[in-house]
């Protein structure tokens, strides 16, 4: 904690969205998570959303700490279980907008099963996945998203496993909004979050972020600025691209953009429509606005 308190002439507008009693945060110098949080706060501001009705659920990991810093009803659950937690929260209180803000290892490693089922059901939640290609908090272990040949602490001779392509996985499971950006695409991340918040259904926004202390250090990729330069030089915006073509090779091209944006009834809509059809007047509708 810094000892000297600086008196600035104005208040940083983002402080309205943060638990300032917990800032400065724990993320490293050059880490991309803070940038995603800033883009998220910007999306909240621009979309004029009722912040009392927005909840953030995080898992465990560096990105999992996001829940602790945002000034919303926020929940820091167990490793990989942010999505079922969000499911329970959303279904118990359908008027809430629930955002899962967690990392690639948390959501797609241990949480993989929960991801595919929530997407399958078209649960009305937004998943913001910060992808830094490793399990950073625990020291940079290999993850389901690590590219082949990357060096990680549990793949010390280089990763040889095939990684997931997150947009492909989300598309295959039935997600209705899928986008991928890097942290450098500040305004696009904000725009995607705004779009997804205004949509009903299961949304995934993957944001590729630098991990300076682990992924970049182990692979001698430099610091945050070097990784941002890599994103700058290698990302290609390919809106609507076929999700089968979005693999990321080690330090290779990054296809970014909005890949999927479709309409499909959500879980609750399906449930209510179906039950009304089958049970008629006897059915007591759940979670529908009067």
């Amino acid at each position: 904690m810094t000892k000297s308190k600086e008196q600035l002439e104005a208040e940083n507008p983002i402080e309205h969205y943060l638990r300032m009693d917990r800032i400065p945060h724990i993320w490293c110098s050059g880490c991309g998570i803070g940038v995603v949080v800033t883009s998220f706060a910007d999306a909240l501001r621009k979309s004029n959303i009722d912040m009392d009705k927005l909840a953030v659920v995080s898992g465990i990991g560096c990105t999992g700490r996001v829940a602790g810093y945002v000034k919303l009803d926020s929940f820091h659950s167990t490793h990989g279980r942010a999505i079922p937690f969000a499911t329970g929260l959303k279904l118990a209180n359908p008027e809430m907008k629930v955002v899962v803000f967690s990392g690639d290892g948390d959501i797609f490693g241990i949480g993989g099963n929960h991801f595919i089922h929530a997407a399958r059901r078209n649960m009305d939640i937004l998943v913001i996945c910060v992808n830094n290609f490793n399990y950073a908090m625990t020291g940079g272990q290999v993850a389901a998203t690590s590219p082949i040949d990357a060096n990680l602490s549990t793949a010390p001779y280089g990763n040889f496993e095939y990684p997931f392509s997150l947009p492909y996985l989300a598309d295959a499971c039935g997600a209705t909004y899928v986008a991928r950006w890097t942290v450098l695409h500040l305004r696009q991340v904000t725009m995607s979050i705004q779009e997804a918040l205004g949509k009903r259904g299961f949304s995934l926004i993957e944001v590729i972020a630098p991990c300076v202390t682990l992924y970049a250090r182990r692979n001698r990729l430099g610091d945050g600025l070097n990784l941002l330069k890599y994103y700058h030089d290698n990302s290609e915006v390919r809106h609507g691209a076929d999700t089968r073509t979005l693999d990321i090779s080690y330090q290779g091209k990054l296809a970014v953009g909005k890949f999927i944006d479709r309409e499909k009834p959500t879980f609750l809509e399906c449930m209510n429509n179906h039950m009304i059809k089958v049970l008629g007047d006897k059915y007591v509708p759940y979670g529908v606005k009067p």
Binding site: N12, C28, G30, I33, G34, T38, L186, D223, L228
Partner: protein, 92 residues
Amino acid sequence: MTIPFGNLKPKKGKIHINKNRCKGCGFCVEYCPRDVLELSEEFNVKGYHSPSVKDEGNCCYCQLCEAICPEFSIFVTLKEEEEEGEKSESRP
């Protein structure tokens, strides 16, 4: 620098830096489109070099530094210019 285009004038920003919250990542300095910032020679309390304003007159209030900072420690407010007589059409 003025662009002669009727009464429109470019916006100017006033930059606020929370030196001690900064972790010296350098993103704001690198991506400022007008090269307004530089890393300070001084250390902050944590031992990082925070940004300092090289040339505030050049700031065009794009707020990119504010958006890209991972530490919530730099932001830009609109500098209201005092003008005599003239009203700018860019401000309602």
